[in-house]
Symmetry: D3
Subunit: 131 residues, 6 copies
């Protein structure tokens, strides 16, 4: 990865979740050398850093997909709900993206997604606007 891709990834990761690169490195790099570089440089530096779709919409797409994929991605759904708030989405927009997934991933996946959002909002003292 050129510095450009890795640096791009670090910048976006830092915007979404300050300290993410260091946290990944501390947790995984001793066990699996280069893990944090691969994740940050590729997922954020190559994929999220692309032009053509704004970061907030990218994050709402991620929340929708992780909801539909279900239990397998539970911990990452909570992390990405936080990233989506950091990218400027309203809590209500996040809830709507999750609940719409009842159509595609089934009711259980959507309900589990709502529960994940409720936990994140409770941890942060967020009360969604009921517009």
């Amino acid at each position: 990865m050129t510095d450009t891709y890795l640096e791009q990834g670090e910048r976006i990761a830092e915007q979404l979740s300050p300290g993410l690169r260091d946290a990944l490195a501390a947790k995984y790099d001793a066990m699996l050398p280069g893990m944090s570089e691969s994740l940050i440089g590729w997922a954020y530096g190559h994929q999220y850093a692309r032009p053509g779709l704004d970061l907030k919409t990218r994050q709402l797409c991620t929340v929708a997909a992780l909801t539909a994929l279900g239990g397998q991605t539970g911990p990452q759904l909570k992390v990405n709900i936080g990233h989506t708030l950091a990218a400027g989405a309203e809590p209500r927009e996040i809830l709507e993206a999750i609940w719409q997934m009842a159509v595609y991933g089934g009711m259980p996946a959507a309900i589990n997604g709502l529960n994940a959002a409720a936990e994140v909002f409770a941890e942060r003292g967020i009360i969604p606007d009921q517009g």
Copy 2:
């Protein structure tokens, strides 16, 4: 379903894909009475019709999720790429939402999603902006 929900669903479905309700009814209602009413009234009347998230972003979320869910939802992915264009998204935005899913659903799911988009664009003579 009150007329309101069903009517709302028919209005949104008509916007995304003219004739969708009638096509569903013709294909499924003789085999399974009430199928088109349940689908249109619930999926579009209850879920897509909600305030709180604009229709274009809803559709991009759907495209992302169907990509990540993979083969199970192949035919519906193509249908929804069409709906997403009808909701005002640029082809490039659709491609970006699909490709980002390599991070969450894996490379095979993302590549299959790109192939689905390429087919829809070819059928419609669309050449994505490479900006």
Copy 3:
């Protein structure tokens, strides 16, 4: 949703799990207005209320599918094991529907399903007939 569909859904939900509508409303409607109406009116009023297949068999099908879908639907599997008992199924029939899924969803999914059933039965003091 006409009163008819919503009322039908409430009647079936009440039969399967007394107080379900109110519990859903209390937990989700403030966060996501109309959530309980959409779920009860559609899932139970439209889908479960259909003629053509008895409620007990419907519930056994649900248990089988949630088992095969696996971890994503773990909490809902336990809820639906309760609903299936309420629909008149024997504990042994439920275990058989779960264990058969080893053929289709793999051994891990089936074993996790048996564990879910064992928890529900233990909570209710049920000892399955080994006939």
Copy 4:
């Protein structure tokens, strides 16, 4: 596998689909010695042959689960719709088991399942009762 399990499996497989064991053996055993014995002896001899749930309900559970699992199991869904008719289910019961899965596996999975059933019924000249 004792003769008992393998024989049990052959008897049930023959009831559901005459010639199934021989068809599997002809297609797979040269490539993978013992494949048909493992499948018939285990899936039908051990799992389907169990007491505690009647064969028709077992098959409806299988149809429901294969629908919810989606594209991964498309060919087997068609095969099992045939087996479920052979086990005594009405076409309408099969359609209901499939359509109910919209709640758990999402609309795309349920629609693909209906399409599979429509193909099987068309091949056999079956017109479902719309009761």
Copy 5:
């Protein structure tokens, strides 16, 4: 199952995890008669016992697949990481098989797999070689 298949399965299961057959029987056979015989005789006696691929590679394939399948198979992933060590794999080989799955099952599945391995290694005081 002939004694041969069941005995083969018991021998391999004992090699991978001493006492496995008895543990399964104690946990499941009273609830579901014959469960441990079906699992051990088929999964280990028929499938794992086959010639043509060595046991260590079989176990690495299992770890890779359970990682890609994700949350549904979380408990079985930890069990099979233990079995894979028993089959002679280095901890580092296990981590590599897991991390490679980021390409096919997505980053969340791979990260959850690394976390599962970290737990197993911590329980056993294993520190992976970082070669």
Copy 6:
């Protein structure tokens, strides 16, 4: 991506499938600029190029996982069966890795995997050793 990662990825991709980078670029880069660089540089340069597990075993793990994931990854399974032969695996080893997945991804996934392998072998005139 530094030249090192991209170059590493190109070297491994060339070993597994001569011309792969150019084929990807021709098919996807006009539609989605940088796609082939991201895929080759990350999937092969970062992930497959890692030390700690030999390429043949990596490919067998990939075949196992794609089998278990099922329909979503059908086209990529066939591609990777070819890559696994190129990495030095015997046809029989590939069949064994696929069939073992019946235990984890269910019978339908394993049967579909065998069918994919049979197609690849037929295209190449390979007759697996039945040893």
